[in-house]
Amino acid sequence: DTAVSQTPKYLVTQMGNDKSIKCEQNLGHDTMYWYKQDSKKFLKIMFSYNNKELIINETVPNRFSPKSPDKAHLNLHINSLELGDSAVYFCASMGSTDTQYFGPGTRLTVL
């Protein structure tokens, strides 16, 4: 069973479009995260949620809107996509063991 899953795996879209990435974890964890990994492989935190509540918003443009319908899901909606949004987006979750479990990533390409 996949612990943390993301869909889609690849996303190619035009500038100005709106898109969503979905994340689900079946580990029963309370905390979930969104990270962005750029072309230089820097993994940077975007958002942190705990029990469906937003804890950390790491100065991300408000075009990015996370939503957590329940503890197992954390989705990311992006409005008005820009070229600079092209990156790999990772979802992760963490429980009581201080270990983060990452999803497979979504490679977003904005043309």
Binding site: K41, S48, N50, Q100, G103
Partner: protein, 112 residues
């Protein structure tokens, strides 16, 4: 702000040798430090966690040290194998573990 540095250049070693990767940090005293492995096209996978009161942690061929005075962690892979080739990332928690900073990673190449 927190700064985490890892060797940006790739580390090339011969199979069977010990690989040593470095993670240096500034401006903070973390409660623990994590090491992850990332293969191309995949998400990071957790390897080891070492807490501030631990000097050393081992798991099979992996060993991590944590020097809070030097603000440095060393990650060792003994008897390295080509399958160990990957990018290795260190990470530090902040704000009650709701936020993590990652280093840029060091790419390890183990040649047969």
């Amino acid at each position: 702000s927190q700064k985490i540095e890892q060797n940006s250049e790739a580390l090339n070693i011969q199979e069977g040798k010990t690989a040593t990767l470095t993670c240096n940090y500034t401006n903070y005293s973390p409660a623990y430090l994590q090491w992850y492995r990332q293969d191309p096209g995949r998400g990071p996978v957790f390897l080891l966690l070492i807490r501030e009161n631990e000097k050393e942690k081992r798991k099979e061929r992996l060993k991590v040290t944590f020097d809070t005075t030097l603000k440095q962690s060393l990650f060792h892979i003994t008897a390295s194998q080509p399958a160990d080739s990957a990018t290795y990332l260190c990470a530090l928690p902040l704000y009650n573990f709701n936020k993590f900073y990652f280093g840029s990673g060091t790419k390890l190449n183990v040649k047969p």
